[in-house]
């Protein structure tokens, strides 16, 4: 598990992190754009379950979300992934996200997630995400990078 940096980093290089929470797990994506931060946030969600490098990009699922603000859009994005993983018995390891700027009806996300069915021996999933929560939910430009983060109930 990768740790959170003790001090905020200034570079916007895309990266996924987990941060500590009492009983659950915080996921954080960092990148030069909101879309990149969302991709990395999704990767952090998978890191809470298994090593994403063990997940083969065998097939893709398309996901669309719409929300009144970027925070809720990130929440919806993670929850859409949790739903798809649950009903397909799937894990994802690669993501491509596009976030359209806010229109009158809010922000829109178009994404593709690649993965494969869960292999309980090879993936050895540590936890089962139940849902992304509003706790510590933030999507903001911070120290030169976009950061998307929240606590996921596991």
């Amino acid at each position: 598990m990768r740790e959170s940096p003790k001090k905020p980093r200034s570079e916007s290089a895309p990266r996924a992190e987990l941060f500590a929470h009492g009983a659950d797990i915080g996921v954080r994506g960092i990148g030069p754009t909101p879309a990149s931060a969302f991709e990395e946030g999704a990767l952090a969600l998978v890191m809470a379950i298994t090593d994403p490098a063990r997940v083969a990009a065998e097939s893709a699922v398309e996901i669309r979300c719409e929300a009144p603000d970027l925070g809720l859009l990130f929440l919806d994005w993670l929850n859409a992934l949790i739903y798809e993983m649950a009903v397909r018995r799937f894990l994802f390891g690669r993501f491509a996200v596009r976030v359209d700027p806010s229109t009158g009806s809010g922000h829109r996300l178009f994404a593709r997630a690649w993965g494969e069915p869960v292999d309980r021996v090879r993936h050895a999933p540590a936890v089962e995400p139940k849902g992304a929560t509003l706790t510590a939910l933030k999507v903001e430009f911070r120290d030169g990078a976009w950061v998307a983060e929240c606590v996921v109930d596991v």
Binding site: M1, L72, V118, P125, E128, G131, T133, L134, D153
Partner: protein, 476 residues
């Protein structure tokens, strides 16, 4: 937690007076060491709960409380629906009606010890556990509706249990007021093949030895004999409950301003209990309670099937089944007046004392059993609802040891293989699909379960009856 903001009311009860918009005080239970060890976030979260509309009495944190989302885990709060009181999806949690049931085996440790490897193996093969596992039951839409209305009663009608089990489940195994039509297509999809699955995280099936009886009369009344083995099953409403929690948490967060609710933090998303949204959530949440009842009933059936292969004479009668994550309409005394309230318990157990009108006949004279779960290598406990009236914290008690550190911290301290091997040296067999999951759930990652039990006992939340030591653990 810094104690300077708290007034000690006793050695196990601490009060934060109302301030900064708090409508009622916050009360934290626990001895000084437990409360000092709690995260500051517990006080912050329970103080925010005290700001919600319609809250009555106080907002409570149990001795096992830790940082949650919205409410702390181990949080209890009651709202008066007729006084603008709210219902909060975050106050119930995603794993709706997550709970514990305990079965009596009548077997001694010596009966199980020679076969424990084989028994652990068969339980692990039979009880689907961990992410990606599925049950053998597939529900179509009609059966899904029946399950969501009927709970454990539905399961028993399908052959997964005995009718006498129903007398030993809260609400008789079928939560009234369930509205399956308020359960979304997505929630149903997540549950289609998850009936009879354990889940993951802190969920488990444990075979435990009754190591000590603290109250002989109550132990006898509950059928507990020192040296005999019991089985405890900890799980909830699986994907269906998770999806209901997900959907309503978001909907409540978006709708709160229009309902005139100013949230101290968006994670406390709630709706007036008497609103269309509030009623819709309550109907769906009650259906999820039934899903949890049915799930634990099916797991009980699977467990009985395995035990019959090894011990034909063991009947595995159900002692009781309790829920941890619920919002229930109950009548409680507030300032000398009986009032109908909506009691939220998130990571907390209902603890009705003797002669409470909500108890099944089996426990009318004793009060209801309260189960406090340990973590693989640590003791669990059986307690009972208090004698004191009115009960503390709207008749609630703790539900487990409660985490002492994050999963993150636990992974720095333990490796799964090391935990499994060390427990095996102590004679405890752990079976899990994930060694990393075992490390995250290492016994040392939790508070001292016996200290939590002692604090609950001294605080009058519930009384000690028995202590249980683990022998086998199937971990999700």
């Amino acid at each position: 937690m810094e104690l300077s903001r708290l007034e000690p009311l006793s050695s196990t009860k601490w009060r934060r007076p109302p301030e900064g918009g708090m409508r009622v005080p916050a009360i934290i239970f626990g001895d000084e060491a437990l409360v000092r060890a709690m995260d500051e976030k517990v006080l912050e979260q329970i103080s925010n709960v005290a700001r919600l509309p319609g809250i009555v009495g106080a907002a409570y944190a149990m001795p096992d409380a830790h940082w949650g989302y919205g409410f702390p885990i181990g949080g209890v709060a009651a709202f008066d629906p007729d006084e603008g009181g709210v219902v909060s999806a975050g106050g119930v949690g995603f794993d709706i009606s997550c709970g514990v049931r305990t079965l009596l085996t009548g077997l001694k440790r010596g009966d199980i010890e020679p076969q424990k490897e084989a028994l652990a193996g068969r339980l692990y093969e039979t009880i689907p556990a961990g992410l990606g596992s599925t049950g053998k039951i597939r529900l179509d839409e009609i059966e899904m509706d029946r399950m969501l209305s009927g709970g454990a009663r539905w399961a028993i009608e399908r052959g997964w249990g005995r009718s006498e089990d129903l007398d030993r489940i809260e609400e008789g195994g079928a939560m009234p007021g369930a509205r399956p039509e308020h359960v979304s297509h997505r929630a149903r999809q997540r549950q289609m093949d998850e009936m009879g699955t354990l889940g993951s995280g802190n969920h488990y099936l444990e075979v435990q030895e009754i190591a000590a009886i603290h109250d002989g009369a109550l132990g006898k009344a509950f059928g507990l004999v020192r040296g005999e083995m019991v089985i405890s099953i900890h799980c909830g409403s699986r994907g269906l409950g998770h999806q209901i929690g997900t959907e309503f948490l978001r909907e409540m967060a978006v709708a709160a301003p229009a309902a005139g609710i100013t949230l101290p933090d968006r994670e406390l998303a709630c709706a007036p209990a008497r609103s269309e949204l509030g009623e819709r959530y309550l109907g769906a949440m009650r259906a999820a309670i039934n899903c949890a009842f049915a799930n634990r009933q099916i797991l009980t059936h699977l467990t009985r099937t395995v035990f019959r292969e090894f011990f034909a004479e063991a009947s595995l009668s159900l002692l009781f089944d309790v829920s941890h994550n619920t919002a229930k309409e109950e009548e409680h005394e507030v300032a000398g007046e009986r009032r109908p309230l909506l009691v939220h318990r998130k990571g907390a157990t209902r603890a009705f004392g003797a002669r409470h009108e909500g108890l099944p006949d089996a426990f009318a004279a004793t009060g209801q059993p309260v189960f406090i779960g340990g973590s693989m290598g640590t003791p669990s406990a059986i307690m009972v609802g208090p004698e004191r009236r009115p009960e503390e914290a709207f008749a609630s008690s703790c539900h487990g040891a409660g985490r002492a550190m994050s999963r993150h911290q636990a992974l720095r301290l333990w490796h799964g293989r090391q935990v499994v091997d060390e427990l095996r040296e102590r004679g405890i067999i752990v079976k899990s699909p994930s060694l990393r999951g075992v490390a995250e759930e290492a016994p040392g990652a939790y508070k001292d379960s016996l200290a939590v039990v002692e604090a609950a006992h001294l605080a009058g939340l519930s009384r000690k009856v028995a202590t249980l030591d683990p022998l086998l653990c199937i971990k999700g």
